[in-house]
Every structure is written in structure tokens, then in C-alpha cells.
């Protein structure tokens, strides 16, 4: 798989049969490329790296080391699911690093969004490098590059999310899904046995909940983001909106307003619900969530999430708002 050009004759993978054929082919290619070698892969929990992991496990089993870094900004249950699917179910060699304290300590007091992103990105690379050094004899780095990554960057090797890692360690890249489109990656993922909620997962930003706990991140407000987000996702799933709305999440700004509960005066945060539709995130429309569902979600958030006394719905399309708040 030296070429970065998808052959014009390549059929779009839309059925389990086509996915099986692709998987069979790729396993052979991977074994050819890797032989007895060892592969390192950063497992983010996103569908691309998960599919690459599942393919590599099939091809080389324990010669793959997956590293899942928990930066403390993941959604509720996310890290646990990665461990369950990959370590317990697929029997992968999984290194789980809970770096929550490291990340949150470095982010303490930092309110500038760009600064926050830089810190998270840099710390991630540092943690990943530390783990990479601990594993002996690794020659290959797996990556979840997909075809749009190549198309959008002018056909040149796609942008890595792990900084200068390949150059620094002299890794050879392993990118088994680099000629696939996103929809194809999902079909393949399903055939490899990945759970639906991983395969059809909504897009999730690199800095995670860090950009949804706007301003300087504190553990308590981050928890409010995490809990309210879990409630939103649960209720959307119950209402059969999962997989139908492109992206939906909660934001808790660093702002308080008055409230009253059982006669007691409150001075708490609002939760902002965001639900948008788009194809490429360059422009977006707001989902018309039915009123009764918004009410149900509001009731649950106000009853179950500590430190929150209001729920708002973000009505703004892109432009002029962006999808995320930071």
C-alpha cells in the first residue's frame, strides 16, 4: 500500500461482504508490512483509531501495543469502554494511562482557549512519548488516517496528531484505512465487532470536554459538563436521535446566575445544550429538538447535576457561531 491514491476501480465498501473482503486483504498486507515487528498505536476512542486497532489485533495480535491516554477530559464512561472493548473483549495489549491529574494541574488557571489547546496537545505527546519509550523494539506506528485526510491535504501524507513522533523515533507508519472514506470505516468497524456506539460515535474534539468547560477548567465544573453531557446523550438515544443528529453536547460556562431551590437561594452555573447538523462542519444548522424532549432533559439536568440551576438551548447556526464554544 505505497500509493496514497485510491484506485478509481475500488468499490465503495457498503456491505458486510465487501467489508469482510477488505479485512481479509488488509490482514495479509499488514502481515507483509510488519512481519514479526511491533506496532504502537495511540487509541483515542474515536472510530478511526479503533478500527485500525481491531485490524491490527487480527493481523498481529499481541505484537500491537495500544496506548489509551485519559487526559481527564473524556466523556462519562469513555475510558472504561475503551478498556472493556480492547483489553477485555479483543484481548489487546492495552496500556491505559490515567493522566487526569497531570493534565488538569497543567490547565489550572488557564482561561485562554488557544493556550488550553496547546497545553493539552503538548502534554498528550509527552505522555505518549513516555509510554513509547517503555516499549522495546517498536518499529511501527499505527495511525487512523483516512482518505479525506489525504484528499484535504493535497495528496501529501496526512497531518499526524502525534507531532513529530514518527521522525523522532524513526517509526514506519502503518495506515491500513488510509484509502477509505468515513462511511466505509464504519462498515468495516461493525464487521470487526466494534460496538455500535463506538462505530457511529459523533465527532469529538481533540481537547475533549476541555473546550466545553469554558475558561479556566476546574474539577467541579468539569464534572457538571460530564454529567450533563451523559444525560443529554442518554435521552437523545432513548428518543432515537442517536446517529441522526450530527453532533450534540453540553457546555458549562464559567458564569453564575441566581436560582431558588426549596426556598434556598442558589448562585449556580447554567448548562447550555448544543445540537447541530452538518456534513463538513464548515456551516451548520441547529437541530429542532422537540419541546417535550428538551423539557425532559432540563428536568433531569436540574435534578441530577450538582451546581447547575439553569438549562439553555443554543439556537445559533454557523455562521456566525461556531459549533464549539471555544
Amino acid at each position: 500500500m505505497d500509493s496514497n491514491k485510491r484506485p478509481d476501480t475500488m468499490e465503495r465498501i457498503t456491505t458486510p461482504e465487501l467489508a469482510d473482503a477488505f479485512i481479509k486483504e488488509q490482514v495479509v498486507e499488514l502481515q507483509k508490512q510488519i512481519g514479526d515487528g511491533k506496532v504502537l498505536l495511540a487509541l483515542s476512542g474515536g472510530v478511526d483509531s479503533s478500527v485500525v486497532a481491531a485490524l491490527l489485533i487480527k493481523a498481529i495480535g499481541k505484537n500491537l501495543t495500544c496506548v489509551h491516554v485519559n487526559h481527564g477530559l473524556l466523556r462519562k464512561g469513555e475510558a472504561e469502554q475503551v478498556i472493556d472493548v480492547f483489553r477485555n473483549q479483543m484481548k489487546a495489549n492495552l496500556v491505559y494511562v490515567d493522566a487526569t491529574d497531570r493534565f488538569l494541574d497543567k490547565l489550572a488557571g488557564v482561561s485562554d482557549p488557544e493556550q488550553k489547546r496547546k497545553i493539552i496537545g503538548a502534554e498528550f505527546i509527552t505522555v505518549f512519548e513516555e509510554e513509547a519509550k517503555k516499549i522495546e523494539g517498536v518499529k511501527f506506528l499505527g495511525q487512523g488516517t483516512i482518505y479525506p485526510d489525504i484528499l484535504e491535504s493535497n495528496g501529501v501524507k496526512a497531518h499526524h496528531n502525534v507531532g513529530g513522533l514518527p521522525e523522532k523515533f524513526g517509526f514506519e507508519l502503518v495506515e491500513p484505512v488510509k484509502l477509505l472514506f468515513k462511511d466505509e470505516v464504519r462498515v468495516v468497524g461493525k464487521q470487526l465487532g466494534l460496538p455500535d456506539n463506538m462505530v457511529y460515535r459523533q465527532p469529538f474534539p481533540g481537547p475533549g470536554l476541555g473546550v466545553r468547560c469554558t475558561g479556566a477548567i476546574t474539577r467541579d465544573r468539569l464534572e457538571a459538563v460530564r454529567e450533563s453531557d451523559a444525560i443529554l446523550r442518554e435521552e437523545f438515544a432513548k428518543a432515537d436521535l442517536e446517529g441522526k443528529v450530527w453532533q450534540y453536547f453540553t457546555v458549562v460556562p464559567d458564569y453564575r446566575s441566581t436560582g431558588v431551590r426549596d426556598g434556598k437561594r442558589l448562585w449556580d452555573w447554567p448548562v447550555i445544550i448544543r445540537a447541530v447538523n452538518t456534513k463538513d462542519a464548515m456551516t451548520a444548522t441547529v437541530e429542532e429538538v422537540p419541546w417535550p424532549l428538551l423539557n425532559k432533559i432540563t428536568q433531569r439536568i436540574l435534578a441530577e447535576v450538582k451546581g447547575v440551576n439553569r438549562v439553555l438551548y443554543d439556537l445559533s447556526p454557523k455562521p456566525c457561531a461556531t459549533i464549539e464554544w471555544e
Binding site: L151, E152, T278, K279, D280, M282, T283, A284, T285, P317, K318, P319, C320
Partner: protein, 191 residues
């Protein structure tokens, strides 16, 4: 066919590149400071959108004027590219009475070339604070909206077309068709 995109600093320039790529055109994004000499062998040029007020900020618009003066091939101006074009040929710009962001109801009045095969009323996506107040003498209006009287223009004596809205974003209906129509305009002109 070789059609390049002049980057005037907008947030969707890459999208314009992508539409052309998916229409199988040889294309590249070039800075607006590129000398016309390097672009003279193209089949067409797109003048992209840019940041607010950039159309009147001559320094930010680079060589757009040189392209409009020297090019014989068709040119398609988008948003800031459109505003600059109108001002360059003697029109007037000013703050929009109703700045338009996101959804706009477009009413097309001329289906001759750029809007060939497209319905009279469609939804388009816009993002602008300024607008064309006076259209240059050698241009005519080919589309309007309830909030903006000059949504699209064409030049009467040269193959220059321009739109205030953004045909390259997914939420503009028939956007890709407009680009294909521009490519058809180029094909006709080449004959």
C-alpha cells in the same frame, strides 16, 4: 481544465478548492499577492471570500485588481471577491442595511449562464457585513434577496460573474451546480 482560487483570507477558501477538485478540475489555492504573470495561462479564476471590510481595504486584496484588468479568461468572484470586483469597475460599497449570516432566500432573475438550470427561489448561505450599493455600469444584477438587493451580478461585456453569498458551502442549494455552470462558461469561452 485549470482553474485556480485566489485566497482573499476567507474561512471557506478551502471549500472552494474542494468543490473544484470534486468536479475534476486542476486547481490550486494561490495567495492574492501572486503576480498575474504566473496565472496568465489559466482557464479561469475564482476570487475567494475574505474577512470583513476587506473589499475596501486595498492592502488586503493584493493583486485582485490586476487579475480583473489583465485576464481574458472567465472570473468568478465570491463575497469579498464580488464586492472588490464591483468597486473595481466603478461601483460603490457600503455597510449592509441588513447584514446576512447563514440562511438567505435567494431570488434569481437571470438564468442565462451562472444560474442555468437552477430554480428561481433557493436557499443560500451568506456571511457579510457590507454590500454593493451601486452596481458598475457594465454589470447587471442577476439575483436578489429580501435583505440584500445585490446578491449576484454578471458583466455585460466580459465573462465576469460574482455572488455575494457562498456557493461553496454545503448549506447553499445548487452550489455545486453554480460551479459546474462556471466551468461550462469556461468551456464555451474556450471555443
Amino acid at each position: 481544465m485549470k482553474v485556480y482560487i485566489v485566497d482573499n483570507g476567507g474561512q471557506w477558501t478551502h471549500r472552494e478548492w474542494r468543490v473544484l477538485k470534486y468536479l475534476d478540475v486542476e486547481t490550486k489555492i494561490v495567495p492574492n499577492t501572486t503576480p498575474f504573470e504566473e496565472l496568465k495561462d489559466l482557464d479561469g479564476l475564482i476570487l475567494s471570500g475574505g474577512s470583513p471590510n476587506v473589499a475596501s481595504d486595498k492592502d488586503a486584496m493584493g493583486n485582485n485588481g490586476e487579475y480583473l484588468d489583465k485576464a481574458e479568461f472567465p472570473i468568478f468572484g465570491i463575497c469579498a471577491g464580488m464586492q472588490f470586483t464591483c468597486e473595481w469597475f466603478g461601483g460603490k460599497l457600503g455597510p449592509a442595511e441588513n447584514p446576512e449570516f447563514s440562511k438567505v432566500d435567494l431570488k434569481i432573475s437571470n438564468h442565462a449562464d451562472l444560474f442555468k438550470g437552477i430554480p428561481d427561489e433557493i436557499t443560500v448561505w451568506a456571511s457579510h457585513n457590507d454590500e454593493v450599493k451601486v452596481v458598475p455600469d457594465n454589470f447587471e444584477i442577476i439575483a436578489t434577496s429580501p435583505t440584500c438587493p445585490v446578491e449576484a451580478v454578471r458583466c455585460k461585456d466580459r465573462p465576469i460573474y460574482a455572488v455575494q453569498f457562498h456557493p461553496e458551502v454545503e448549506h447553499t442549494e445548487y452550489g455545486a451546480e453554480m460551479f459546474q455552470n462556471f466551468l461550462d462558461i469556461i468551456a464555451d469561452w474556450k471555443k
